[in-house]
Subunit: 354 residues, 5 copies
Amino acid sequence: MSRLTRKSTKTAGSAPGTLIHVGEKKTDRVHLSMMHYAGAELIEQSLDGIETALPRLKPGATTWINIDGIHDVTLIEQIGRLFHIHPLTLEDILNTTMRPKDEAFDEYLFVVLKMVRYDATDCLITAEQISLILGENVLLSFQEAAGDVFEPVRERIRKGKGRIRTAGCDYLAYALLDAIVDHYYVILEKLGERLEALEESIDEDADAGMREEIHDIRRELIYLRKQVWPLREVVAHLLKGDNPFIGETTGMFLRDVYDHTIQAIDTIESFRDTLSSLQDLYLSTISNRMNEVMKVLTIIATIFIPISFIAGVYGMNFSHMPELGWRWGYLTVWLVIIAVVVAMLLFFKRKKWL
Amino acid sequence: MSRLTRKSTKTAGSAPGTLIHVGEKKTDRVHLSMMHYAGAELIEQSLDGIETALPRLKPGATTWINIDGIHDVTLIEQIGRLFHIHPLTLEDILNTTMRPKDEAFDEYLFVVLKMVRYDATDCLITAEQISLILGENVLLSFQEAAGDVFEPVRERIRKGKGRIRTAGCDYLAYALLDAIVDHYYVILEKLGERLEALEESIDEDADAGMREEIHDIRRELIYLRKQVWPLREVVAHLLKGDNPFIGETTGMFLRDVYDHTIQAIDTIESFRDTLSSLQDLYLSTISNRMNEVMKVLTIIATIFIPISFIAGVYGMNFSHMPELGWRWGYLTVWLVIIAVVVAMLLFFKRKKWL
Amino acid sequence: MSRLTRKSTKTAGSAPGTLIHVGEKKTDRVHLSMMHYAGAELIEQSLDGIETALPRLKPGATTWINIDGIHDVTLIEQIGRLFHIHPLTLEDILNTTMRPKDEAFDEYLFVVLKMVRYDATDCLITAEQISLILGENVLLSFQEAAGDVFEPVRERIRKGKGRIRTAGCDYLAYALLDAIVDHYYVILEKLGERLEALEESIDEDADAGMREEIHDIRRELIYLRKQVWPLREVVAHLLKGDNPFIGETTGMFLRDVYDHTIQAIDTIESFRDTLSSLQDLYLSTISNRMNEVMKVLTIIATIFIPISFIAGVYGMNFSHMPELGWRWGYLTVWLVIIAVVVAMLLFFKRKKWL
Amino acid sequence: MSRLTRKSTKTAGSAPGTLIHVGEKKTDRVHLSMMHYAGAELIEQSLDGIETALPRLKPGATTWINIDGIHDVTLIEQIGRLFHIHPLTLEDILNTTMRPKDEAFDEYLFVVLKMVRYDATDCLITAEQISLILGENVLLSFQEAAGDVFEPVRERIRKGKGRIRTAGCDYLAYALLDAIVDHYYVILEKLGERLEALEESIDEDADAGMREEIHDIRRELIYLRKQVWPLREVVAHLLKGDNPFIGETTGMFLRDVYDHTIQAIDTIESFRDTLSSLQDLYLSTISNRMNEVMKVLTIIATIFIPISFIAGVYGMNFSHMPELGWRWGYLTVWLVIIAVVVAMLLFFKRKKWL
Amino acid sequence: MSRLTRKSTKTAGSAPGTLIHVGEKKTDRVHLSMMHYAGAELIEQSLDGIETALPRLKPGATTWINIDGIHDVTLIEQIGRLFHIHPLTLEDILNTTMRPKDEAFDEYLFVVLKMVRYDATDCLITAEQISLILGENVLLSFQEAAGDVFEPVRERIRKGKGRIRTAGCDYLAYALLDAIVDHYYVILEKLGERLEALEESIDEDADAGMREEIHDIRRELIYLRKQVWPLREVVAHLLKGDNPFIGETTGMFLRDVYDHTIQAIDTIESFRDTLSSLQDLYLSTISNRMNEVMKVLTIIATIFIPISFIAGVYGMNFSHMPELGWRWGYLTVWLVIIAVVVAMLLFFKRKKWL
């Protein structure tokens, strides 16, 4: 399926709230894992079924259930039933083509995000949808496939570094959000490196590959921009929204995420500007080079075509060509030829072509 | 009539509220059909006249009357009389060149939409105007011609899938709106495919057809954009507006439609960006190719023009040309020629033209 | 005077409220006409002097006085005195370079508009300033010259079609506004036709006239845009403004005018986009054609220059040129020439130039 | 000093409120003049020192003191002391690089403006800073040098034309503002004339001077725009601001200045659009011309290179060239040459190059 | 590390509030200095440790502690403890990749700024992060390295010039802010000079270096813009924000800084416009020059190719070429050649190529 339009046509017209998985099936096995902690206490385990996690939930402790793989509609339905999730939310979780958004419900806060990856071999950015359900003392995270950018967060929970073990569920949600936004910078740095490589090589050698590299970077920026822009609204909304799921302390940290998001957008915009400047530089380099090619051709042709004509004239076989018989005829012709060449060179000199 | 400006001049200056059909007559026969349902009860039938539907209307049941073909002014007037529709609304229904909008009246909510189609043979998007009149327990939909994107909705009503049979008239209006917006994605996917086909082929072979394809896609995007942009305001307005015709539950579903509309706009904008990048790529490919052509010409001409001159010199017929009589004259000339060629090749090498 | 800047320098520095006619004198004779109606009653006549109309004014009846030609400062002053018009308003009426605006005074509402015309011979849009003074039961309209787009309105008054005879003075003002905005579509349709003609012909034959046509249409769009944009604010302001001169019923009709103005702006913007796409198409067509010309030159030159050199070599007159004496020398040369030509053709084939 | 950045580096880091003259010293002698009037009474005189004006100030009369030349820091300090002007205001008056702004203090209203001039010889727009201090019955105006656009205002005061003699100090300030904004139109008209001259000449003859003219006009527009844009905010602020220095009547006149400012901005923007369209037209004209040049070259070269080759072949000196001995050999060669030429011409005809 | 993306990946995923220095280590030794003053009293000294400054802090006096070098995490932590600074603030101070921002805490106001420098050798702008902590009677400033733009401020404190000695801590913060913003103008002036140098040289000689200069200036503008834009929000926020750390008097001075920031942004935008105009001028200069080159080539080739053909014809060695034997054959050929040349020259004259 194309990266440009991922909204599949197969849901068009189906009843809202109908649970259909939309998107590529990126993993075969659905994998559930749980981290449960409260101060010094920490339980980390894989889950066979979602119902085994339920007894853990209690006030004062934080339970993070991560689901890798969202194509198993039955499982999602079961989770929906157990955690009282609205059918529309379940539909959104299954639909991997959602625009980043946040929605506050009575019993939970629902956030859809895009986690971006950089595929080094193809130089392609890919986005994976992350859905977060933030309840009172439980956080559900849904991923399209295994593998994420949350490892440092898990590490912090395991080691009890910082305030994460004591700071509750909203802080955990913040930490995940922060990890995702931080990862945008990894991507931006990669693109920044490609931009700088381009900028350096364009001076020496503007070859054909360059114009494709310019187009490729631009395409990636367009793609990244589409993922990051809506995030600004989402974080701003979380900041302002008087929902009971985000405490005041976490709100202050969210302000930091907001700053980072704005800065990521700033960087994308200045990359676009830089790219557009490079495009102009590339085009004028091409034009310039063409000019140079043309000059060489013109100089050579303009010098030799007239003197070839002179040689041609005295190659004619007329019976009566008095010059041919002259003693110094041949020498004179050479002098004329040299005069023409010198005149031409002076002309080019004056035109600053040499 | 042109797709660019459809506001016909024939109404210019006519009295407002005058019922005149504006637009192409896309169908010959006007066709009326009704779906009437309330829970398990379902009546679906064609109507001979609009008055036969009236007795069906009652609280608790939903009646959807669909009119295919709006050129029959008398019929529209009759419907207006029977359902107490304002003359200005009737005028808007008849005028197929309306901008999408919504207007709340005391007795009904009036929404004008554009349903888009993709004509696969011409690769042209066409828009058909849909007018919805949402009353208390009746929904009137006016189409320019038979054939629409509502079949899945009808199917859901027939099979009683989801909440549609029980959810009232506003939910039905939402379902139609949703079907229309979903269909925008079908169009976008088609355009996305054309964009990607373009992107792939541009590397191999930037031929003349490509520049027309770029222009064609851009033209379609401009057209689609003009249809979709106003829709955002319409849906946002329906969401915010405190009109009594849209219940709170349906409002939540409308938020979904709003998200989809925003996403469609996002996609159109990134298509435009992509297209503009492709246009740049195409132009620099053309420039590059010209450069290559010029180089070949310059190399050939620059090598052969000087040595042709040498040959020309010794083709002259002067009586006194000492070189002609020399023993190794001919060989020397060949050596000179080879030297010139080698010098030229080295020059091109240094210029990186070879 | 130039169409680009019409604010004449002659008023610069004159006292505000000084009555000076600014603009071209488009008519010699000032012509006053009146339509007076109240239900079935209708009087339509030319006026010799403005004072003859005064006795007609009475509550319940609508009097429309139209003045064609505004260069007669004395007359404007007299009208100002009789109808208690503020000197600044009079100055604005006389100044044909005003930006569209509306101003509410205690005794009247003042609206300045631009009525556009399409001059078919020059393909130029021209704008004429219309000033409306809407009092309690009188409407004054000032035009630069005779000839307007109000004929259908007059016809409706004469025939008593629609609600115009009974709907009061504000409705009449609306009707005039509507007639002006409707006429923008006539212009847009003309431009749309030129755009489509351009689009069709660009494929076949991108000649020099096309680039002027592109520029001309763009110039007209810039001009039209400058007239239409401010109108949006004016109509929006009339809609919102709590002035006593516009009744609620007429307000609803004004909403229609607002929709049309927005749609006109939309259309102008998409015309601009289309034009910009056509400009790109035109430029790449030119580039492409240049490429083709260059290819033909390069193919011919690259094939014949080397073989001409060969012929040149054997045209030399050295005494000792062994090949010249060979039995199959001439034939061999021909074979070499054919080999070169075939090699070149294969080279071009591989380059896809043939 | 450059017109692009006039903020001098010499103030960087100096204490705020420090009085330093920043800018070019445009005049040697500082000149003070006063106009004092109240109804029929009028005193106009040059002042030797600012203190001589003080006794004139009284309620009911208006005193306008104009200072030409602001490099005399001591004088400015003295004025500041006498009229209770804030040190920051004095600093702003001395700094000729201010952005247009207005600031309300307790005892006066401070407005900074840019008066533009058009230097006809260089075709350059220059801006001079005007600072106005509007007190209760005194107006101070500071100019960089003698010579301004206020002469018509002075004339109106002298002749007592209009309401100026009786309308108080705020009206005088308005009159000066109006004179400055009116003068923008003089500049715009000059630029408009250059644009139209450009537009006309581009069709006939797109020479090198044209591209510099395009750049020059654009540079002037950028400069003018930078002066005019901030003015909009200033006037809008004066209109809204509840400061006691501007009476209600003058407010109404200011609305007129606001309209003019908006219109000036509109005109600048449409000039930019027009210029950009002309730039495109110029570029495609250049491209087109290049195309034509190339065609001529290609036609000539493509016709003569092949037939020159034929002539070259029969110029070879092989002993065994049977054609050379044929009776009709020469004639045949001519026929072949003619055939080639005709074939080529037909080819060009088909390509529509002829 | 690249100047384009400075947000280091090494913090990605680390716990918020974790103190890690992010950025280049620009200095080896951390240097602390203090200025303490209150009216006539002034103590200026280097500090060995931050704790030695603490006893100085007292109401009525202002203590400015400047820290050059922020890579010493232990020191920053100690300062944080001593001055009750929030961990998130400390993290921001250590992270040199912050976007300019201001945050009000209960005990202090935190402002992050970018101080720009112009490296004359590389013509590169570099930014250094300045963090200000404004407490009740203490101001902490953190710099990445020694060397700043605050020397004039220090000089004013030392000499007691202006109001700085008596005006409190907020005024000092304002003075630093003002010094930073003033320094933007130094940079802008440098760029302005480069722009003008470019503009002058483009007329004479559009060489390859120019297109790199255009790109370089644009890159610097993009970089500078990214630093200055967020500053506007920061200053606007400081102006509006009801925080207790900025007194009303200082607020008035801040308005001045705000004006300067806006003006800097204005200047950057008009530089961008100017640059874009120069880019267009450069491109059309290149195009024009190519055109001229082509014309010379075409004129020479078009004149000589046909006459060379004529010479070639009479160089053929046919036995029966009657012209060769004619008495005036040679002369006739010369006349034909001259006729062809004259005809060509007239053709070029008519085409305005000569």
